[in-house]
């Protein structure tokens, strides 16, 4: 089948370049040929355009989520000082400069939800799975371009609904991103009415989008690899996307079920999660449900979700590290096996979020052992990255610097996980700032650093221009330093028993001493956020004014996406034949080469023996 596609689309793809006699066509004819503005840039079925759409939406939500966090950080820094501009930006939620506690809860809820789902799932794997899967495996496009388009527009609809919910007078959802019932099920509570419903609808739509996307990635990777591209030759980003997509396909539906049941509890009078509740001066009729059921369903996705975020990030970082170390990735097979075992184990660890929920202690101990078992494949990955740069020839591009930053923060975050996965230690640390610090370092900061690494690395592929290098380094410093100064102290706060999701620390004597560190963290958060403005400037400036790379392959990488100059919207990706693959993706600095230090995947072996490949040799 892939053979037919590879040959068949060849002819068709010519139209992307030529626009042959496209002027006389009617709107719908242009639409069908993918030549009108709308079908090219808006309702596009081209994976490269969809990748950019995901990226821009993800960046929008990144800014939005960051701004929300600054508002609640200011509240934590100045809990007793009225801050007049709260009233200006928040209206009735900030009356007299005092932030409404319910709105504080809404802020943390929306911040968490959009960053986990919209930025780090949609923005990160949506972007790079779309961009890299067809290009790195040598496919003309996704298996189903239409489903791919649908995936983005469902995501967009979810975004719009979430965005609208923030501005409604009834307030956005205030149940935390985990939305534990009964808090999220009692619609009479402040900010739990229409806002919570919209939140649930948005999440349901997002899940549908993720399923569309995941189905497509898996199908494409399994069926549409070019000739010679065996699974064992796939670049690691593709492996990462593949494993994360399988994980998502198996776990997202469970959250969908949890969300639908929660909606039923809210509106249809069912009692899946509700039992024996006395609320608002009256006893609710619900009996026999269990809030713990929701927690099981939620974390059955919720925990794999963090791996859905981090596994593609690991894949991307592995690629960036190998390319810029000019050295094969250390232990390619071990990398794939460790990703696969993380995927497998991630289905068996969800209840480590529930050690103190009153679950059977025997279950708790099992989940503790399974959770700590995940440390083994994670450690394999970390050491493999370390051994990849060992004895390398590190070209410290901005992307490489971000990738090294990823390894550093992943070590910190991973080690924090050892504390939380330990059931005994979790009795102290559960729902404290330690948890906040831990997951922000490991799936916030390090996933973001991986995303930045990928953006800096594949920017020439996406937009045909280079980003400003010095600004990239400044951006790196303004990201990793404030991020660590924000989240590392939180680990200490957690060990000192500071509970999370607190509107202020003023009701407790033992929390008062942490007020000054709160101010410090807020200052760092503002600096870190302002550092991102440098990135946004660099990003948008470079799209239009950045320097053009000297060749198709500015980083001298081996993978297939650098063999084509085709970047205009439209299926096809390669003008002529799709290149055939002769070796794995990491043939850097093999001893038999003299003039150059890498062999691209598509160069036939006989060409190497005659003369080493030249750096900027035009392809085919």
């Amino acid at each position: 089948m892939s053979e037919v596609l590879r040959q068949g689309v060849n002819q068709e793809s010519a139209h992307t370049e030529g626009h042959h006699n496209g002027n006389g066509l009617s709107f719908w004819e242009k639409w069908h040929r993918g030549e009108s503005f709308f079908s090219k840039y808006v309702f596009s079925m081209d994976h490269k355009v969809i990748a950019k759409q995901f990226l821009l939406t993800g960046m929008f939500w990144g800014v939005m989520g960051g701004l929300l966090s600054l508002v609640f950080r200011l509240q934590l820094a100045y809990p007793d000082t009225p801050i007049p501009f709260f009233e200006v930006i928040l209206g009735k939620w900030g009356e007299g400069g005092i932030l409404d506690p319910n709105f504080y809860n809404s802020l943390i809820t929306i911040h968490g939800t959009v960053l986990v789902f919209f930025v780090l799932t949609g923005g990160l794997s949506g972007t790079f799975a779309n961009l890299l899967v067809p290009l790195q495996i040598g496919a003309r496009d996704m298996a189903s371009p239409f489903l791919n388009m649908l995936s983005y527009w469902t995501f967009f609809l979810a975004s719009v609904i979430m965005f609208v919910s923030i501005f409604l007078p009834w307030g956005p959802a205030a149940s935390g991103w985990t939305a534990y019932p009964p808090l999220s099920a009692l619609k009479e509570l402040p900010n739990m009415g229409i806002g919570m419903d919209l939140w649930l609808v948005s999440i349901v739509l997002f899940i549908i989008s993720a399923l569309f996307g995941g189905l497509n990635y898996v199908t494409t990777i399994l069926n549409m690899r070019t000739k010679g591209m065996t699974m064992a030759r796939l670049p690691l980003p593709v492996w990462g996307m593949f494993i994360a997509s399988v994980l998502g396909l198996l776990s997202f539906p469970v959250l969908l079920a949890a969300g639908v049941l929660l909606l039923a509890d809210r509106h249809l009078g069912t009692s899946f999660y509700l039992s024996e509740i006395f609320f608002n001066g009256q006893a609710l009729p619900n009996y026999g449900g269990s809030p713990i059921l929701y927690q099981h369903l939620f974390w059955f996705l919720g925990h794999p979700e963090v791996y859905i975020i981090i596994i593609p990030a690991m894949g991307l970082v592995s690629e960036v590290l190998a390319v810029n170390s000019r050295k094969p990735i250390f232990g390619y097979t071990a990398m794939v096996i460790s990703m696969a075992s993380i995927m497998f184990l991630s289905f068996l660890v969800w209840a480590h979020h529930m050690f103190v929920s009153g679950m059977n202690p025997f279950l708790g101990s099992m989940f503790m052992y399974m959770t700590l078992a995940i440390a083994i494949p994670s450690a394999v990955k970390v050491f493999n990255w370390l051994f990849t740069i060992w004895r390398g020839n590190l070209r410290l591009t901005p992307a490489m610097v971000f990738a090294l930053g990823f390894v550093a923060t992943f070590i910190i975050g991973g080690l924090g996980g050892i504390f939380l996965g330990n059931a005994v230690n979790d009795i102290l640390l559960h729902d404290t700032y330690f948890v906040v610090g831990h997951f922000h370092v490991v799936m916030g900061v390090s996933a973001l650093l991986a995303m930045f690494a990928a953006i800096y690395h594949w920017f020439p592929k996406m937009f045909g221009r280079m980003m400003n290098r010095t600004l990239g380094y400044i951006h790196f410093l303004f990201t990793i330093i404030p991020a660590l100064l924000v989240f590392v102290p939180m680990h200490h706060m957690g060990m000192a028993g500071v509970p999370r999701r607190y509107y202020s620390f003023q009701s407790f004597d033992y929390l008062a001493q942490w007020q000054d560190i709160n101010l410090f963290i807020t200052t760092m958060a503002i600096i870190g956020f302002s550092g991102q403005l440098i990135f946004f400037y660099n990003f948008f400036y470079s799209i239009f004014r950045g320097k053009k790379p000297s060749s198709n392959n500015p980083w001298k990488a081996t993978t297939l996406e650098w063999t084509t100059e085709e970047m205009a919207p439209g299926h096809g990706n390669w003008k002529g034949q799709v290149p055939t693959v002769y070796r794995w993706a990491y043939e850097y600095s093999p001893p038999y080469l003299k003039d150059t230090d890498y062999v691209p995947q598509h160069i036939p072996p006989e060409q190497i023996k005659k003369e080493p490949v030249k750096v900027s040799e035009p392809v085919e």
Binding site: P101, S275, F330, M368, L404, L428, I474, R501
Partner: protein
């Protein structure tokens, strides 16, 4: 720092950042973004080493020192001592791994930054190394986790038979306590019976509940096992006693349990911490709504005889309830 000063500071940093930014932007304009000279790589590598690694290690050391000044006092319950021990063990083990791996990472950066004429060594990986990593990490983790597996069951076993039973009920946004009274049995509860006179919904027809004591004060004797029966009336709360390092969720419809043996009375703890206002504070650790951060109660740990005296002074819940019912009927 007042809010005004704070905003000035932030604005100052912001302006500084933009000056750096403008300089950075100009520097790059005349450079080839694909050329990475030896000196460029060297500068970048050493900048990373000094700023991120050396600076980060110094900051971490400062952060630890800062924490030690503010950490919780010695755990005031035997179970808390175990939990703290595990925590400290984890700090030690992960601290060592953190220093080793991070040092490796940054040493490699300054050692192997890119230079012309150097060639990376072609090492696609060694199965032996991978097996060693797996075995090493697995053995290390097993050693680390063995005591936890033991203590987990020590902490989570059912409370001893002679434990003093107290029922804790969370509701938005406070805690209520119930002692079983002389018969040692709690009366049955039904949430449909809750009303202002009967905030816990105790069944008035159950004789076991007639001597139950309902109070907002939580007093327990030192040195005896205390068994908490934790319940919630509306949403999920979590009964978190930081000075014991313990917490357990309060879930509507699902009773949960926790037990501990207090080691020091409140008075002893005041002497130990040197804080004459010290009280055992209890916090809510599960988001429960707008009052989550002020859902505070305290535990008063006293000598056993003082506890007996206090308990004997309390009136049973049923007495007040009955009287109120009689008055209501008369009306």
């Amino acid at each position: 720092m007042t809010f005004g000063e704070f905003m000035l500071l932030v604005a100052g940093i912001f302006i500084l950042a933009w000056i750096v930014f403008a300089i950075g932007h100009l520097i790059e304009l005349n450079k080839d973004p694909e050329e990475f000279t030896d000196s460029h790589n060297k500068r970048t590598a050493w900048a990373m080493f000094i700023i991120i690694y050396v600076g980060g290690m110094l900051a971490s050391a400062y952060s630890v020192w800062y924490y030690l000044e503010r950490k919780l006092p010695e755990p005031a319950a035997q179970q808390g001592v175990w939990i703290q021990t595990i925590n400290d063990l984890n700090v030690l083990a992960t601290g060592i791994v953190f220093v080793i791996t991070t040092t490796m990472l940054f040493l490699y950066i300054i050692k192997y930054y890119g230079r012309k004429g150097r060639k990376a060594q072609y090492i696609p990986g060694k199965i032996k190394v991978e097996m060693m990593i797996v075995a090493g990490v697995a053995i290390g983790l097993m050693i680390l986790i063995l005591p936890s597996g033991y203590y987990w069951f020590q902490i989570m076993t059912p409370a001893p038979k002679d434990a003093i039973k107290v029922e804790v009920t969370g509701y938005q946004f406070a805690w209520m306590f119930r002692y079983p009274g002389p018969d040692g049995k709690f009366g049955k509860r039904d949430w449909r019976l809750i009303n202002p006179d009967n905030p816990l919904g105790i069944d008035p027809n159950d004789p076991a509940g007639h001597d139950d004591i309902v109070t907002t004060e939580f007093k327990v004797p030192v040195g005896k096992p205390i068994a908490l029966h934790i319940r919630s009336r509306d949403v999920i709360h979590s009964f978190f006693i930081p000075f014991f390092r313990m917490k357990m969720d309060a879930v509507p419809g699902v009773p949960t349990f926790m037990w501990f043996t207090p080691k020091y009375t409140t008075v002893q703890m005041r002497e130990k911490t040197g804080n004459e206002n010290f009280v055992y504070e209890v916090a809510c650790a599960e988001l429960c709504g707008s009052g989550h951060s002020s859902m505070r109660t305290t535990i008063d740990i006293v000598e056993p005889q003082e506890f007996e005296q206090w308990l004997n002074k309390q009136t049973a819940w049923y007495e007040t309830y009955k009287n109120k019912q009689v008055i209501a009927e008369m009306k």
